[in-house]
């Protein structure tokens, strides 16, 4: 391929509490040429990571065990970082502040997710 990989040069934060899902997300991001920040499984770990690095995008699971990831998502949005949400719940259950963020319901199609990441993170 002559064209650069779709996520070439982009640092994508992964916040997901299921290790296997997080690893798989990481692999997808890397296969598109992106660099993975994390993955992390808690709000605390994400916050710590964000103090030293600025991502170009983030994939965030809405629910991290018992805690909500909304605070991180809101912070990133405020800083103009594009985010994609994934959720095991229905998308109607999202907090109002995140209602307009693109959201994929688990189990999502890998093809769709790749396309969404390319379009969304590249565009931004």
């Amino acid at each position: 391929m002559n064209t650069p990989a779709p996520l070439d040069g982009l640092k994508i934060l992964v916040v997901e509490d299921e290790l296997l899902v997080a690893m798989d997300l990481g692999r997808m991001i890397r296969s598109l040429g992106g660099e993975v920040l994390g993955p992390v499984s808690t709000v605390q770990a994400a916050t710590a990571l964000l103090q030293t690095t600025e991502p170009n995008g983030a994939v965030i699971d809405v629910q991290l065990g018992a805690e909500s990831s909304a605070p991180i998502a809101e912070d990133l949005m405020a800083g103009g970082v594009p985010i994609l949400l994934i959720t095991g719940y229905t998308t109607e259950m999202l907090p109002a502040s995140l209602a307009k963020v693109p959201c994929m319901s688990k189990p999502y199609s890998r093809t769709d997710f790749r396309k969404l990441m390319q379009r969304y993170f590249r565009q931004a």
């Binding site: 690893m23 065990g65 095991g88």
Partner: protein, 469 residues
């Protein structure tokens, strides 16, 4: 009837008493209702046919006889004497005097007596005595009262002007009120005005008069003394009695259970979706490290089996929890390990939450698989053994520090081939990813070692853990 009979006596058409009496007698005889016209000496002047049964006299034997000749003792009783005497002498009016007697062939009857005096122009005094058989009505009333009493749901009987006529025991119990606070009051004024709900007003005042009933009208309200409740109301209008029956079913618990069920169902769906997601991620990640379809199938199925074993343990345990020792034991047994012969577990009892159980199970599964293929339990080992030892200590913030060492014996040199990168990643990350700390793989004196140091929050240790001093 006595009044109109009185008018007959006074009517100009009948001028002589004898003739009047004939007319009255003819009228009385033609009536269905038991009625007696008595002289003040209690002689029967006239009687309707239906009175005969109560008197226990032949129909033809009534007129001209005294009540003392009646077959039934009631007519000779001081009670009846007093009534007749009082009416005849003092012009008293007796209304609905209740008598319950066994009237022989008629059976047990409830009779309401009405009596009043009739005076002719010639000053003859008569007593008009009517009997109303109230038996069926009283039975029906008793029957309906018993039905109402037997209802477990609160029940109100309202007048058409929406005042409470009566309420049943459950009503008083559920709403913690006394009869005096309810009977005769407008339904809207009960308690703290809790029934003064616009929609209920509309139903009672507008809908009920047109439709004679409504069902399952839901009222959710903060009820004084009993808190927030959800009630379903059913109403029936009884036109001929001008009453409204209102049954109130407390469905608070039911509603609560429904909501609970919805939440549980949502949680179940959430878990199913997450599980499918995890299984797919597992398959994707396993494919990457697999050299052949066979090796993929073997690793993938073995990992799924480990997840199933954890699930089984969690289902059996209290509050979906599992013991750390059990989790590790099952993984070592699954690759043919025998406790106290080829493996040994030592550490305090530690009960893990579901997510902690899965994290330790994945770690133990990868370590055990590796031990069976390349480590202490493989054919490369001499007198191979696995020791798993752990201890716990308080770690501040209500957390419990856990240090677990997986130590293999029986290998003189490190295995030439390690497992796939993915297996190692699972060992190194499964626990630290969720709970922090580290999981470090190394080669010890005579075998592979893995040291896990982490700290678990109270929510991941469902039963209080006795921490070692």
């Amino acid at each position: 009837m006595p009044d109109s009979a009185g008018n007959l006596f006074r009517s100009t058409a009948f001028t002589t008493p004898a003739k009047c009496e004939d007319v009255v007698e003819a009228i009385v005889c033609s009536l269905d209702q038991p009625i007696l016209i008595l002289r003040s000496d209690r002689t029967i002047q006239a009687a309707s046919q239906s009175a005969a049964g109560f008197l226990e006299l032949a129909p033809g034997d009534m007129v001209g006889h005294s009540l003392d000749d009646a077959g039934h003792t009631f007519w000779k009783s001081p009670e009846l004497r007093a009534i007749v005497d009082e009416v005849a002498a003092k012009d008293a009016v007796i209304t609905d005097h209740r008598v319950e007697q066994d009237f022989g062939k008629l059976g047990q009857r409830v009779v309401l007596l009405n009596a009043r005096r009739l005076t002719t122009r010639s000053d003859d005094i008569f007593v008009v005595l009517t009997l109303r058989d109230n038996t069926e009505l009283e039975f029906a009333k008793e029957y309906s009262e018993k039905i109402v009493d037997a209802l477990r749901d609160p029940f109100l009987i309202l007048d058409w002007d929406l005042r409470v006529r009566s309420a049943n025991g459950p009503f008083y119990k559920v709403f913690q009120v006394r009869p005096g606070e309810v009977e005769g009051r407008l339904i809207y004024g009960l308690g703290n005005g809790q029934w003064n709900v616009p929609r209920l007003r509309e139903l009672l005042e507008d809908i009920l008069p047109k439709n004679s009933s409504f069902d399952d009208f839901e009222v959710e309200h903060e009820f004084e003394g009993i808190g927030r409740r959800v009630m379903l109301l059913n109403a029936r209008r009884i036109n001929h009695l001008r009453l409204i029956l209102l049954v109130i079913e407390d469905v608070t618990e039911q509603k609560h259970a429904e909501r609970q069920r919805t939440v549980l169902l949502g949680e179940l769906q959430h878990r199913a979706k997450n599980l499918l997601m995890t299984v797919r991620a597992l398959s994707e990640l396993t494919i990457q490290g697999a050299s052949s379809l066979e090796s993929f199938g073997e690793s993938f199925c073995a990992r799924i089996d480990a997840m199933v074993r954890s699930q089984d343990l969690l289902v059996q345990g209290p509050e979906t929890s599992a013991l750390l020792a059990e989790v590790i034991r099952l993984e070592l047994q699954s690759i043919g390990g025998r406790e106290l012969t080829t493996f040994r577990l030592e550490g305090p009892e530690l009960r893990l939450s579901a997510r902690a159980c899965y994290a330790f199970a994945m770690t133990a599964h990868e370590l055990a698989t590796n031990a069976a293929k390349y480590g202490a339990l493989s054919k490369n080992a001499c007198d191979g053994r696995v020791e798993v030892v752990w201890n716990i200590s308080p770690a501040g913030d209500g957390k419990t520090a856990l240090r677990l060492i997986w130590r293999e014996h029986g290998l003189s040199t490190p295995p030439t081939r390690k497992g796939t990168g993915f297996g190692t990643q699972l060992v190194e990350n499964s626990v630290p990813y969720l709970f922090g700390g580290s999981s470090v793989l190394s080669f010890g004196r005579d075998g592979i070692e893995c040291m896990i140091e982490t700290s678990l929050a109270a929510e991941d240790l469902p039963l209080p853990t006795v921490t070692q001093a």
